[in-house]
């Protein structure tokens, strides 16, 4: 009954004025197209609205550059400098370890490997990309953390170093995949010219192909930065989660884990919870900055 009623209306609109009918459908698709824009706006607005109150109450300077975080103490302190520095050091460390490994692997996969090895390596990299972060966390917790404790002879292996190693492994697939795509796109003529001039294959790859693909490789690194700074669960399981100033062998807390670890027990509306939203806002600003950088490199690549 209902269905027939609606069908009749549609038929009527269609017959009466097919332009209106097309316009309605156009409108529906326009709304669907604008959903992503709406989501971005919604996320931005919500984060700003919920992040500002605590910053106002604590004071921007005290919040960003305060060296102490003690949200549950009698006299609570809300300084997030330890988290900011930990996130920056942790990401930098992961990049320093992960990028060279990923870069050389990418050159090998793109230029030197034969078809069989290439397809095996590609599925290996895809698997690495698909492993859930909690699995990385679990393995890190039971293999890496005890290993660090034994090797460096410290009381607890859950440390910045453990987080850096886990993050370095987690960003590897991003770096390899994007670099391989960039290296594959280098025109064959460039390489042929170099080979014809007497350069060996390896010299050609590193002195011609790599510079030609440098925008794409830069994009890969920036993508790695984005993934490392945003990772929460794996880091939470291996970094120990104490709000110390960053030091390689000490338990530390990242921006992401600061949010995740206290969210469950902070009461809604309290300054503690609002401060967590402010931390998320700071993290969001970092990510937006990274996105803008990424877009810069990708655009430059396209224009060439």
């Amino acid at each position: 009954m209902h269905r027939r009623f609606f069908r009749d209306i549609f038929e009527w609109i269609r017959n009466k004025n097919s332009k209106t009918y097309e316009n309605i459908i156009h409108g529906i698709f326009l709304i669907l197209g604008l959903i992503t824009v709406g989501c971005v706006l919604l996320i931005t607005v919500y984060l700003i609205i919920s992040g500002i109150p605590a910053i106002k109450e604590i004071g921007l300077f005290d919040f960003l550059f305060g060296k102490e975080w003690a949200s549950t103490a009698g006299e609570p302190k809300y300084g997030i400098l330890p988290f900011i520095l930990t996130s920056i050091y942790g990401t930098a460390g992961a990049i320093i370890i992960g990028v060279p490994i990923g870069f050389f692997t990418a050159v090998y996969i793109s230029k030197l490997s034969d078809k069989k090895i290439r397809s095996v390596m590609e599925s290996a990299v895809n698997l690495l990309a698909g492993i859930p972060s909690v699995v990385y966390g679990l393995v890190g917790m039971l293999v890496l953390v005890p290993a660090i404790r034994e090797i460096f002879n410290i009381p607890d292996g859950a440390s910045l170093l453990a987080a850096i190693i886990v993050l370095a492994i987690m960003i590897l697939p991003n770096i390899i995949k994007v670099s391989v795509t960039a290296l594959d796109a280098v025109p064959k003529e460039y390489e042929d010219a170099s080979l014809a001039l007497g350069a060996t294959d390896i010299e050609t790859y590193f002195k011609v192909s790599v510079p030609a693909a440098k925008s794409g490789i830069a994009a890969a690194v920036v993508l790695g930065v984005g993934r490392a700074i945003g990772e929460a669960m794996a880091v939470m399981m291996v970094a120990g989660n104490v709000a110390n100033m960053p030091s390689l062998f000490q338990s530390v807390r990242f921006l992401t884990t600061a949010v995740a670890s206290e969210m469950a027990y902070s009461s809604p509306g309290s300054l503690q919870r609002n401060a967590l939203f402010s931390i998320a806002l700071v993290l969001f600003l970092f990510i937006m900055l990274i996105n803008a950088t990424l877009n810069f490199f990708l655009k430059r690549d396209k224009e060439k």
Binding site: V37, I43, A124, L138, T200, I229, A232, M237, M263, N295
Partner: protein, 280 residues
Amino acid sequence: MNNKRKIYIGLMRVAMMLCTALTASLVLFLLGYVLIKGTPNITWELLSTKPSYLTERIGILPDILNTVYVVLATLVIVLPLGVGAAIYLTEYAKNKKLVGMIEYAAETLSGIPSIIYGLVGMLLFSNNFGTSLLAGSLTLVIMNLPTVMRTTQESLKTVPQSYREGAFGLGAGQWRVIRTVVLPGCVDGVVTGSILSVGRILGESAALLFTAGFAHALNGIFEGLTSPGATLTVALYVYAKEEGEFGVAFAIAAILMILTLIINLSATLVGKYYVKRRSV
């Protein structure tokens, strides 16, 4: 060839070999370690029961079901939205600025870390209708929207322009062209997008922790969607970090690893199948 060049070539070759070997062995180690530690703990009892404090038994059936519910609910919502957005971009949009804006928004969405999705999902959904699998699914919808949109867009670009022109020439309206020519052509994009989304949903934990909670109740799908529940990844986190039940955690990790393998394999196969069919 002078010595400097020889050393450079040798060094680079060794560096490449070492790094590739390191990456490969890392993957092998992770896969082997998790499977060896996990598979012995996968028992029928674990898979088919719910946790009980009385008998101190741990079962992950509720978590498996919750994962299935979340995957289904998310896909049901995200597919129409993502496909619609892609169709708008490739078939309707004339304004370059608007297209640029939508694509920029999609890129921004795919760069936002899941913990931020979790927070926003909590504010948007959980605070309004309670911590529940549905709130978690809606959060995941926003996360996976760019993926579905991009894969559909890619496949729409491969539908030959002449098909559309032919249909228009026969007097079809825009909507009829989309329904009869464009939509059938983007099936492969939708399938690939779904596979990628399922993989991402299976691996997601930070976005679900505060939106879907971590209960282990055994529910039917409608009851399940409106009540809090842990998916497999969240359950792994809780068992490993909060309860120290590493055996169960490794069992779940092994299951997730096998699912990841299956998903990657099917994505490759689907890709190959459609490339083959196109070239015929």
